[in-house]
């Protein structure tokens, strides 16, 4: 019998990996912030699959929320496109 949540979790974690790699090579920094947000969402999904709701709430707040907000404030000061 196939363990269904673990199977979906493998798909989600691979998507998180792809998003992290794309964010690493991205020249447009706003796009990189959104890509890191995608990575956070898929990692949060993996945490649900691994039965850790406490970590999920804290991780979503820090990884998706505060991180993106502070980086966007930082980006308002600087240049959007990397060399």
């Amino acid at each position: 019998m196939i363990h269904i949540p673990l199977l979906i979790g493998s798909i989600g974690s691979t998507a998180a990996l792809i998003a992290a790699i794309l964010a690493m090579f991205e020249k447009d920094l706003l796009k990189a912030i959104v890509l890191s947000g995608i990575e956070s969402i898929f990692t949060a999904f993996l945490l649900v699959v691994l039965l850790a709701p406490d970590l999920l709430i804290a991780y979503v707040a820090v990884g998706l929320g505060i991180n993106s907000v502070i980086l966007i404030y930082a980006l308002l000061r600087g240049e959007r496109y990397e060399e």
Partner: protein
């Protein structure tokens, strides 16, 4: 990006995907026979927490909260202190006092009304997560992290002048934060002081009476309708941690907003 690196990355991703799918299919992970083989420490906590008169009884059905605030209380207290020092450093570097920025021009009426409507719902949810931390997953840090949605929403929709007029002043938040951390420390030391006065054994962050240390906080209140579970110190610590974390996140966002963003 060169095409060779592209190909290498693609192959790596495909390999990792195949590996994870294989793990999921053959149930090598936690669903296999490993699930019964926890390490001894985990077994001790998982079996001991709900049982009275055991080594680690904490009057709470939630194992995670009772482990992080009872048995590992000093760890969690130092984590709270690290966050506290980080917020203090942010304030020192970024902002003296918060500037009251006017309402941002781009935001439309729709976003403002929606942010005003959603903020109370979020605050109620965060309070429920924090106050039920000893019964359901969640707790002080999680509740505070959900609470931080409301100030950020109001900040985005209405600007920091609205938040300042609602009472989210710098000094109020800072004193709330300091009070939270201080009360956590006092709650942890409380049993130690009583033990010293009575002349019996006691530990720091001692929740329920243990075989060696017969001192503890109130575990539940008995009423004619049934017991109300308080979890000893857990509910107090969750409330104080909620205060500290909610004020801390709000302070960080307000400091970054008043010094960083926007046009000069």
């Amino acid at each position: 990006m060169k095409s060779s690196t592209h190909a290498a990355i693609s192959v790596t991703v495909a390999l990792i995907f195949a590996l994870t799918v294989a793990i999921a299919l053959i149930k090598l992970g936690f669903a296999g026979p490993w699930v019964t083989q926890n390490i001894n420490l985990a077994n001790m906590f998982l079996t001991g927490v709900p049982v009275p008169h055991s080594c680690c009884f904490s009057a709470s059905p939630e194992v995670v909260t009772s482990v992080i605030w009872d048995e590992r209380g000093i760890d969690t207290f130092y984590e709270t202190s690290v966050l506290f020092l980080a917020i203090i450093g942010t304030l020192y570097v970024l902002a003296g006092t918060f500037k009251a920025r006017p309402t941002p021009e781009g935001m439309t009426l729709i976003v403002r009304v929606i942010s005003k409507l959603v903020a109370p719902i979020i605050i109620v949810v965060s309070l429920s997560v924090a106050l039920h931390g000893h019964l359901t997953p969640g707790g002080g840090f999680q509740g505070g992290a959900i609470f931080a949605v409301a100030p950020v929403l109001l900040l985005a929709g209405w600007g920091s002048s609205k938040l300042l007029s609602l009472g989210f002043e710098r000094d109020t938040l800072l004193s709330l934060r300091v009070t939270g951390v201080l009360l956590i420390a006092l709650t942890g030391i409380g049993t130690l002081i009583i033990g010293l006065l009575k002349g019996v054994n006691a530990y720091v962050f001692l929740n329920q009476p243990k075989p060696q240390a017969p001192i503890g906080y109130l575990g539940w209140i008995s009423t004619p309708w049934g017991n109300i579970v308080l979890g000893g110190t857990l509910i107090l610590l969750n409330i104080f941690e909620f205060l500290a974390v909610a004020a801390g996140f709000t302070l960080a966002i307000l400091a970054v907003d008043s010094s960083g963003g926007g046009k000069e």
